[in-house]
């Protein structure tokens, strides 16, 4: 599945660009504001039927209502808890597996065929099987989230280790580093950027997998709230929930990015 990795870090814009460089702070707000205005006017003028697109005011009221009733918070906490546990489990396993495959050629020779084959089945594909095996309880959610996390983390860890320049290993062997010293002082720091790429992917996948299982089989959580809104034909609930899902995804990603920046101070200033 996620057999390639993309460093999804912002890079500085360089080079000659077509338009003269503009530095308009806050211009990014223009589009959402215009969109919101169009949405408001459109809803008020009845350009789109409310069951297709409820007015922003309605969505906001629904959001407040869900918040005040505690439904939103309760469901959010449940989802967060699931995603964090599942992610923790999947990421640890993925790191372990990726490290083992990266460091040991024989292990990789044994494991890679099975791993690559299983990695081809998206998290979603595992749901029916997992349902048959463990039912629809909490363990299902954990397993699916963990599976979604595991693959990109393992893959990137392995690739990261493989990409460590052999020159550093040579330097280490000159200074008679032990195997443990090589792993701890060279492999680990050299692989941190790639591991983080994997972790950020993993977290994205975890969040996605969670929404999927909750859509399919749950009576709580944000995914369930979406389904409920859909069944009750209340798109305002759906949109309010999507906003929460987006905000949490944003926050989780930003948190990992912040940790990454801290761990990689040595890299930030590089051109």
């Amino acid at each position: 599945m996620a057999t390639i990795s993309v460093p999804d870090r912002p890079t500085r814009a360089r080079g000659i660009q077509f338009a003269p460089p503009v530095r308009l702070i806050g211009i990014g707000l223009l589009v959402p504001l215009l969109g919101l205005a169009a949405w408001t006017v459109g809803a008020r003028q009845g350009w789109v039927p409310p069951q297709i697109l409820p007015a922003p005011q309605v969505v906001w009221d629904t959001f407040l209502e869900l918040w005040q009733s505690g439904d939103l918070l309760a469901n959010t906490l449940i989802s967060l808890q699931r995603v964090l546990f599942g992610f923790a489990a999947g990421a640890s396993l993925g790191l372990l597996l990726g490290t083992a495959m990266g460091l040991s050629r024989p292990f990789e020779a044994y494991a890679s065929v099975l791993f690559t084959s299983l990695a081809q089945v998206p998290a979603l594909g595992w749901i029916p099987l997992a349902m048959l095996l463990v039912g629809i309880g909490e363990s299902l959610k954990l397993i699916i989230v963990a599976v979604g996390t595991l693959v990109p983390v393992a893959w990137n860890t392995r690739a990261g280790i493989r990409a460590v320049p052999s020159g550093w290993f040579e330097a280490a062997s000159l200074w008679r580093y032990s195997r443990a010293q090589v792993v701890w002082h060279i492999v680990l720091p050299a692989t941190v950027p790639q591991i983080f790429v994997g972790l950020r992917y993993g977290l994205g996948h975890a969040w996605l997998a969670l929404v999927v299982v909750e859509l399919l089989a749950s009576s709580e959580g944000l995914g369930y709230l979406l389904v409920w809104g859909r069944q009750m034909f209340q798109l305002d609930v759906v949109i309010a929930t999507m906003a929460v899902i987006g905000a949490i995804g944003f926050a989780l990603d930003a948190a990992l990015a912040a940790i990454e920046r801290r761990l990689q101070r040595w890299q930030v200033a590089s051109p």
């Binding site: 039912g135 009576s219 009750m232 034909f233």
Partner: protein, 334 residues
């Protein structure tokens, strides 16, 4: 009439086993499986009929109406009310599937014997469908409410699997549960059959108002076709043939046989929009509001449009084939 090219899109808020495009249990299912509508429209070669079946049941039908992708659909009472509450412009043309019972199934070794035993247990229920309101009423009659149970929201197929894997302690559903009972995966411990008639659920044929206004003559033909299907489906002589026809849905004829056990065919295959049905929809609306499934009051005035059904009955000379009932379910006499 000028033969204009028109495709009439008819939806059905259910789907067969394994997503087969066949269903059972209502006169609309008969109309589909035995091509009543297509036959009725033979004289209009420009008109095509397209059927859609929705695993997502009533909620999915609402989405399709909102998208202008359906002209006519069979849909349960609660989703129709939800659709109307959210501004869908529809007309109810004909009853199809009235007094449909709901069942409660539990694993064979379960200690649940009655509805009252459900307190605190995990129960599979597809929310937003007409099962939900019917079940809520049953619960209320035993002094319970949804929050006293742990309701797990899932569609029928998922619920069957969950029951089999003991992921839920009970499942609320329709006749497909008989199949599980036969396979020894579940046993049915409760049915609304024989209980308060108000507990049953109802569904109806509804049309997009815009379609009804634009093509009254086509609507008339379609309704007439459905009435013909109702006639055949209500004939006790056809009992076995009817269940066999419905078995195209992948649910065995025996399930339908058990489902209809002890009830005359015409009791559930009546197309009449009588005071009982209208009242049932009113009750559903009030209860849905009370259970907070609706966020504002819904006005049902003008929603029912019985004139097509009446015309059809008159044309076919069937004014007295089915017995109309008053709001309380008593026969109005003929």
């Amino acid at each position: 009439a000028r033969a204009e090219d028109l495709t009439v899109r008819i939806g059905y808020a259910s789907i067969g086993a394994g997503n087969r495009p066949f269903v059972g249990g209502t006169l609309a299912a008969t109309a589909h499986a035995a091509h009543y509508v297509e036959d009725e429209l033979k004289s209009d070669p420009g008109v095509k009929i397209e059927w859609f079946f929705f695993a997502g049941a009533g909620p999915a039908v609402n989405e399709a109406f909102a998208n202008n992708q359906l002209d006519i659909a069979l849909q349960g009472d609660l989703p129709s009310v939800i659709g109307r509450a959210n501004g869908l412009r529809t007309k109810i043309l004909l009853a199809s599937g009235v007094n449909t019972p709901i069942y409660l199934a539990v694993p064979p070794d379960s200690d649940i014997k009655t509805v009252a035993d459900l307190k605190g247990r995990r129960v599979a229920l597809y929310r937003g469908t007409n099962l939900q309101l019917a079940f809520d009423k049953v619960l209320a009659s035993k002094g319970l409410a949804e929050r006293d149970l742990k309701i797990v929201n899932m569609d029928a197929a998922t619920a069957d699997a969950a029951l089999a894997s003991h992921d839920v302690d009970a499942a609320v559903g329709a006749n497909e549960l008989f199949e599980l009972q036969k396979n020894g995966i579940a046993k049915i411990v409760y049915s609304t059959k024989g209980d308060d008639p108000a507990f049953g659920r109802n569904s109806a044929l509804i049309a997009a108002a815009s379609f009804e206004e634009a093509h009254p003559e086509i609507v008339q033909k379609i309704v007439t076709a459905f009435v013909r299907a109702a006639l055949w489906s209500s004939d006790e002589a056809n009992r076995d043939a009817l269940f066999e026809l419905w078995a195209k849905s992948g649910y065995p004829a025996d399930s339908f046989r058990a489902d209809f056990e002890g009830q005359p065919l015409k009791f559930r295959n009546s197309p009449l929009i009588d005071p009982f049905i209208v009242h049932q929809y009113e009750v559903q609306t009030q209860q849905a509001r009370a259970y907070k499934l609706l966020r504002k009051d819904v006005d049902l005035t003008g929603w029912f449009e019985p004139k097509y059904a009446e015309t059809a009955l008159r044309q076919l000379g069937l004014e007295h084939r089915w017995t109309a009932r008053d709001a309380n379910g008593h026969d109005l006499g003929s």
